[in-house]
Each structure stands twice: as structure tokens, then as C-alpha cells.
Amino acid sequence: MKITEQNQAPGIPTDLASLDAWLDKKLDEKLAQRKAAKTPSLAIIATKGTMDMAYPPFILASTAAALGWDSSVFFTFYGLELLKKDLQIKVSPLGNPAMPMKMPFGPEWLQHINMKIPNFVAGNMPGFENFATAMMEQTTKTKGVPSILELRDICVESGVKLVACQMTVDLFNYRKEEFIPEITEWIGATTYLASAKDADICLFI
């Protein structure tokens, strides 16, 4: 079968085999163009409210924003704690057996020793949570890793969309005044899914 002379644009092959190859080439070019023109996007679901689990969403979201990507974090369940005005997050040693226990100060050799404390001790000893939190804060400070508050401010500054789960507020009897005013919007699962549908990267943390 041949394409008739009348409806043929210049440069387009007329026999089917070459037309097929031509279309493949053209499609690749078009797709590459579209990919280059598209702003990449990152959508994170943050569900944990402890300090160790607060780092990944804020680090990834702020870095994505620095790369010029569209970046958003949906805070739900305990993740909502990370959006409180009065940020009181802690490291929980309970049920966290892989957490290294190392001194953030003292001689170099001591800082490398992992003090294995059995989980039933760390999880039950009064004040251990505060101790572990203080150690973690000290460690991040000496290593030049920003605090959660600092990272959250950077996220706000750099235009990361911080969206909060409406249902969680009702579920845990929070008041909206407890949260930072920079929250972009309060939404539910449906709205979030609709916006995350086209994200290039979607992470559940």
C-alpha cells in the first residue's frame, strides 16, 4: 500500500516499512523533548513523628526543591507532629533496635564504639528517650547536619508544599491553631492521590 501523493507531507517516507521507522524516530525525539521540558516532581507521604523519621522527608523535599523540582509532602497520622508550631519530637529507642548508640563527644575512639543497650532496657528505662534525643541532637550538631526545625524552615522558604491530612486532625483531636500557618492546604486522601498521580517519585516514609 502506498500513501497517495496528494496527502503526503515533504520528508515523510511513502512505503510502510520506512514510515514505521520514521515514526519511531520522530516519537523518540518528541518524548525526549517533552521529558526535557517537564519539571520533575517528588511527592512524599510522611507518617512518622519521631526525630529519626522526620529527617528523610524534610531532607529529600528540600533537596528536590533546590534542584528546581516540584516538591510536596503529605503529613498524615503521627507525621502531623512534624508540622506543629511547638516542635517536640524525640527519638524513640523503643522498637528501634538498629539505632546505633554512640557518644557524640569525647575522644575519637570512644565515639566509634556502639554501646549495645538491650531494647527492653532502652525502651523501659525512665528518661532514656530524652537521653537518646539529646545525644542525637548533639550528634547532628557536631556533624553539621541541620536540625529538623532548620530543615522545615528551608522547605517553607524554598516552596515545598507542606500539605496536612484533614482526617488526622479530627481523629486525634488536634486544633488547627497548633500547626504552622505555612501549611499549604488541609486535604484528604482523594485530593492527595489526585495530585500525587503524576509525580515522578512518590515515597512513603
Partner: protein
């Protein structure tokens, strides 16, 4: 080539060197040069990846003792 601005990111760890680099670049005009000094070994790969993602040109990246020095031309 004269650097318009120098960013001292020494002592900072991931992701701060990148976030500060981005912030410093905002203040520059297209074509102007930013010099970044860091101590985070991760920044060696991260700065290069940041530049290729954002279209800014990494003119040089080298190690000077414990410091890493990057020269970036803003796109």
C-alpha cells in the same frame, strides 16, 4: 575567572551544602561565578549532580587538603 561570590560551606553536611549553593545562586546573575568550599565528601558527587540537574555549569571541582572547591557558572 573571578568569582562573584564565595560560599563557605565547611563543616556542613548533607543536604546543607546543596541548599546553601542553591540559595547563593539565586542572588547571582546568569553567567556569574560562584565558588563553593565544603568539607563534606558527599558534596563531591552531589554538587556535580546538582549542576547537571539544574543546568548550571560546574567549571571545576577539586580537593585542597580537607576542603573541596567547586567553581560554578550560573545558567
Amino acid at each position: 575567572m573571578e568569582a562573584k561570590q564565595t560560599l563557605d560551606a565547611r563543616g556542613l553536611n548533607c543536604p546543607l551544602p546543596i541548599l546553601r549553593t542553591k540559595k547563593s545562586l539565586i542572588g547571582l546573575q546568569s553567567g556569574e561565578i560562584l565558588k563553593v568550599i565544603s568539607t563534606d565528601p558527599g558534596s563531591l558527587k552531589d554538587i556535580s549532580s546538582f549542576c547537571s540537574q539544574t543546568g548550571n555549569e560546574l567549571l571545576s571541582s577539586q580537593q585542597q587538603g580537607k576542603d573541596y572547591e567547586f567553581v560554578i557558572r550560573k545558567a
